[in-house]
């Protein structure tokens, strides 16, 4: 550093000046906010005294006691006045009660008379009602009987209908089964034909045992053509040459004879099992 100072004092001076400048800005930049605050007039201060809380509490208690006493006196005065009022009211009430009692007696008599009349009327009404009820019951019974009969009839009809439907269903199922059987028979026939077709083209490799068997899956399109690459060995015989020969035979036999129409659907993915014994 000293050597530096000797050799190029300008550089050292510049560096020191730079740092001083930075320090200056750091300090004054940080305290920039302080200046406006200092210039502001002091805020008004709320005047406050230190107060002994105990004394304050005592004074408060005394005041409270005084207030309570005054209240009590007032309450007493009020009570006396109320008592007087109550007595006067009682006297008035007694007089009124006597008048009311007389009135009530008269009313009771009238009520008894009215009750007797009402009793008579009620009895007559009850008799009439019973008569009417008996009649209505008879009518209802008759109606119910009729209804029951109609229901039974309807039920019988329904049962007959259901039976007929079931029979039709059974017949249809039978027919379906027959059709399916027919289809299966047809399919079997076609499968046999296809198998024959393939076996005719099949060049069995020499020296294959009788026990070999391999299952191929053939993908066909309507018309009987084999989809290119659509022949795959599902279950290998274990003899690669044998598998290959079967595959070649399938390709050679194309187009295979397949049924047209709905029956073809079961031939889209055809599985065939081959054994050399045949």
């Amino acid at each position: 550093m000293l050597a530096m100072l000797k050799r190029s004092p300008v550089a050292v001076f510049l560096a020191v000046a730079l740092h001083l400048l930075i320090v200056f800005f750091l300090i004054f930049g940080m305290e920039w906010e302080l200046f406006p605050q200092q210039e502001k007039p002091p805020v008004e201060v709320v005047q406050a005294h230190a107060v002994d809380m105990d004394k304050l509490r005592q004074v408060e208690a005394e005041e409270k006691a005084k207030a309570r006493k005054m209240k009590e006196q007032q309450a007493k005065k009020q009570k006396r006045a109320e008592e007087k009022k109550r007595l006067a009211a009682l006297e008035k009430k007694r007089k009124a009660d006597a008048v009311a009692k007389r009135k009530v007696d008269a009313k009771k008599k009238a009520e008894v008379e009215a009750k007797r009349k009402a009793e008579v009327k009620r009895k007559a009404a009850a008799k009439r009602k019973a008569e009417e009820k008996r009649k209505a019951d008879a009518i209802a019974k008759k109606k119910a009987e009729e209804k029951r009969k109609a229901d039974a009839k309807r039920q019988a009809e329904l049962a007959a209908k259901r039976e007929a439907a079931a029979r039709a269903e059974r017949e249809r199922a039978l027919q379906d089964q027959l059709a399916a059987e027919q289809n299966a028979r047809e399919t079997d026939r076609y499968v046999a034909v296809i198998r024959q077709q393939i076996e005719r083209k099949w060049l069995r490799p020499a020296q294959t045992g009788e026990q070999l068997s391999c299952e191929v899956q053939v993908r066909l399109i309507p018309g009987g053509d084999v989809v290119p690459g659509g022949v795959s060995i599902v279950k290998s015989s274990g003899n690669a040459a044998f598998d290959r020969s079967v595959e070649a035979a399938v390709y050679k036999a194309a187009p295979l004879q397949v049924p047209s129409g709905g029956l073809f659907e079961s031939f889209r993915n055809l599985r065939l099992n081959f054994k050399p014994s045949k």
Partner: protein, 224 residues
């Protein structure tokens, strides 16, 4: 707890170790900036001198005349002029001593030019390593100060029952100042180091090229 968190206050209240670290870092920063200004001046001057000399050299005048002129100007020449003088002096000396093999003449001149070139480059590279050192170590020094300050602050925290943010924050803030100053010292130093070493490298290449060119010219003269 003082609410005054200004930087001066924090630094003045920091622990001795942190203060030392900060002092060291400020010193390193001043030093690195001195070097930055110094290298800036030196490298700029060297570049300009190289430009001037190349102009004079390729203006087509007589080389002996140029040499004499340089001798007259004084011996504080540096850079390309110094290399030229070293090479030409050696060439002339060998020739006056009666060596006539052009190969030997040129090789001698070239060797002395190499020496001069190394000296020049060394002069340019002077102090650059210090810049690199400041750039690479001052963050660590600052980090050391920070770790120390935070350690102290947490130790103090362990002694009280109820820890508040106000208790820890000033300590950490004061500790972090050390890292800030470390980075402040390191960043310009690293930038300057990269920039100036690149400049020195380019000057070195120019000198090298000049040595080769001058050698071929000397070879031509020796052969004729």
């Amino acid at each position: 707890m003082s609410t005054d968190l200004s930087i001066t206050h924090l630094i003045l209240n920091a622990s001795i170790v942190v203060q030392l670290v900060i002092g060291l870092l400020v010193f390193a920063s001043v030093m690195s900036w001195s070097m930055i200004f110094d290298r800036r001046r030196v490298l700029r001057r060297a570049g300009r001198a190289a430009d001037d000399f190349e102009n004079r050299f390729w203006s087509g005048g007589d080389l002996a005349e140029l040499y004499r002129q340089l001798e007259r100007d004084g011996d504080d020449e540096s850079g390309m002029a110094a290399i030229f003088r070293a090479g030409f002096r050696e060439f002339a000396r060998l020739r006056t001593k009666g060596h006539n093999d052009p190969m030997a003449l040129v090789q001698g001149a070239q060797r002395s030019m190499r020496v001069s070139l190394n000296r020049e480059v060394d002069r340019l590279e002077n102090h650059l390593s210090t810049l690199a050192t400041v750039g690479s170590t001052s963050p660590y020094v600052g980090l050391f100060g920070t770790v120390w300050g935070i350690m102290n602050s947490f130790m103090a925290l362990g002694n009280v029952k109820q820890a508040t943010l106000g208790l820890v924050a000033p300590g950490i803030a004061e500790a972090l100042i050390a890292t800030a100053i470390g980075l402040f010292a390191a960043i310009p130093a690293v930038i300057a180091y990269n920039r100036y070493s690149n400049k020195v490298e380019r000057l070195n290449n120019r000198y090298d090229d000049f040595v080769e060119e001058f050698a071929t010219i000397l070879q031509r003269q020796a052969g004729s």
